[in-house]
Symmetry: none
């Protein structure tokens, strides 16, 4: 009932499959050869598309890249290990491509190099990052409901901790994301802060 009567716009419709095809081509190039191989010509060629088709969809290379990175970084996972610590480790491993080589290579590249002049912020965040934040927030709230931890003092800060540390350490000291580093951030930062509230008032 919402829009059933809207007549389609005139002219040949966009090929929806091409969108995905282009984004996939960009990610492949990124994963295979690094950011310097991701030129608009190369993406177009690999996608079997013309450059015009790229620029019809995205105003610039940056916007294409932003979309490529976010659309190909998965959101939907079902995580339920029974403990908050286990849930967090598992979901972050999933988000950062641990155990998925192509994905991981691309993520690493992106962390350090992708954001050129990219107005990364407004492009990526709204669509994917907030969705991820919501997922993690749900895990924490479930732990609260379950009685595992008390409600955190500052949930927003808590949710940013792991991605912030990963980004910072990659950018300042080239430290890659690993299973171990994720565990360290969860055990050393998130869990202590989450448990603090529950523990402090006890005595």
């Amino acid at each position: 009932m919402s829009e059933p009567l809207a007549s389609p716009p005139p002219g040949r419709p966009r090929d929806a499959a091409l969108d995905a095809n282009i984004l996939r081509a960009a990610m492949e190039l990124l994963g295979e050869s690094g950011i310097h191989a991701v030129t608009m010509d190369a993406v177009a060629q690999r996608a079997g598309a013309g450059k015009a088709s790229l620029y019809r969809r995205w105003k610039s290379k940056d916007e294409l890249l932003a979309d490529a990175l976010t659309l190909h970084s998965p959101i939907d996972v079902e995580v339920d290990t029974g403990t908050l610590r286990g849930d967090l480790v598992k979901i972050y491993e999933h988000y950062y491509g641990i155990g998925n080589h192509v994905m991981q290579a691309a993520v690493q590249e992106m962390l350090g190099n992708v954001r050129q002049h990219m107005a990364w912020t407004e492009k990526v965040a709204p669509e994917r990052l907030t969705a991820r934040r919501a997922k993690v927030r749900a895990l924490v709230e479930r732990a609260v409901v379950r009685g595992e931890i008390a409600a955190p003092d500052d949930m927003d800060l808590l949710l940013d901790l792991v991605p912030a540390m990963i980004l910072y350490r990659y950018n300042t000291r080239s430290q890659k994301v690993t299973r171990a580093s994720i565990a360290r951030f969860v055990d050393g930062l998130v869990m202590p802060l989450a448990q603090k509230a529950a523990r402090a008032p006890q005595p």
Copy 2:
């Protein structure tokens, strides 16, 4: 005795003032028009220098930029407010240019955009960031000695927290560095973690 007898190198000596002049030109352009205005030609022209003089001093634009950003972000501050919380807030405010408009604008730009293809990591970190880390570490250790807090479980993580959050929030949500945000990170993250160790074992 070691140096005075060495005969001076032949030819015209380097103009030491030029180094600073070039770096200043780079920072001005960054502050005025953003990172995309910082081209080597533009820097050379504004500094009244030739491009060769830039490349004689730095191997690449990245290195020049790294130097420019770090040299203009001061390290040496004497901070002693009596409490760890006060020390941390003060030193971070100093590092991020709170209260210095030109500096602050440049830092904001840098946070979001500078790292182009820049191998930012190896250029900036060794020289400035580690010096800053050492400063902050000293503040924390002084607080331990003073008995204000116990020795942190994972000092390395603690030292990265504030800069990591600043970087992440700027990059993903365009949040600028303010006096308030620094206080929030210190109060909501660093201090709770530092005090946790001291508090937990008490009962």
Copy 3:
């Protein structure tokens, strides 16, 4: 007997008015903004047509342009001033749009610029230029019959003289076609050559 019984092809018939509409649009653009404004998209848009309708009628832009230029440059004129000189001046003035401002502007443009990668030759010549040549040839032959001149030694050369000079001078020295220049070519080239044959054998 050949055509009348052929059943018309099935489907919607071509809109004959559209042909003229498209050609007119092309000529308008040419006259208003020069050859660089005559893109297939622009022609289609101005004609209120789709590009497919253009390409259904002409195999390429060149052919469309050739048609546009020739269809709008009239062939059929009745010229009979009594002298060959008068006939030639009059017909060339007609062909080159002297006294027709829109037409003349288009012709000027065409002379200098139209022939892009255009295989101008095979497209235009057969249909219009040869018709024009035939017209001029008739004028000359009439003058021969009338006894005004003897049969020229090399008629083919004679017929090309004026258009060749107009084309060349426009292309090499930007000289536009005017009433005066046509008169000069006729009086200084065509007439002397036509009369020569008649005069030389006299003594």
Copy 4:
């Protein structure tokens, strides 16, 4: 004494050899593969130059092409066969590359196709075409002095005849320049017109 004291402009001077190198590359491509092979990238690559060096010297492809065609079409020939007819045939054959296959191919290409949107006129004419005209004019004047012909009524027209016919016939009927066609134009047009003046007043 004219400019000996002018100090050279600062900076690295243009590489004069590169100019010729680029023009040669353009001509080679034109001669070998036709006008469609003459892209700016291809010219730059063959010349071992960057595209910036092409655009530093010429504002557009058209201007480069105009220079290439004119600079490589020779002017200086010593022609003295003893008769005007012989001189003209010989110099035109030289100008149109008869007996020089690479040159001739390029000229043919140029006649029909090169001038795309090119403001051919102002680029080519002043520098080379007028020089050629002067050469031919000298031949005619020498014949006048020698008493072979009388002074022509309209010298300017005479000088344009052969190139105009060549251009026109190529463009409208794809007729290539040959030894025979040059002879035909000289014998059928230029010589009769030149001799007419001398002959007519006799009786």
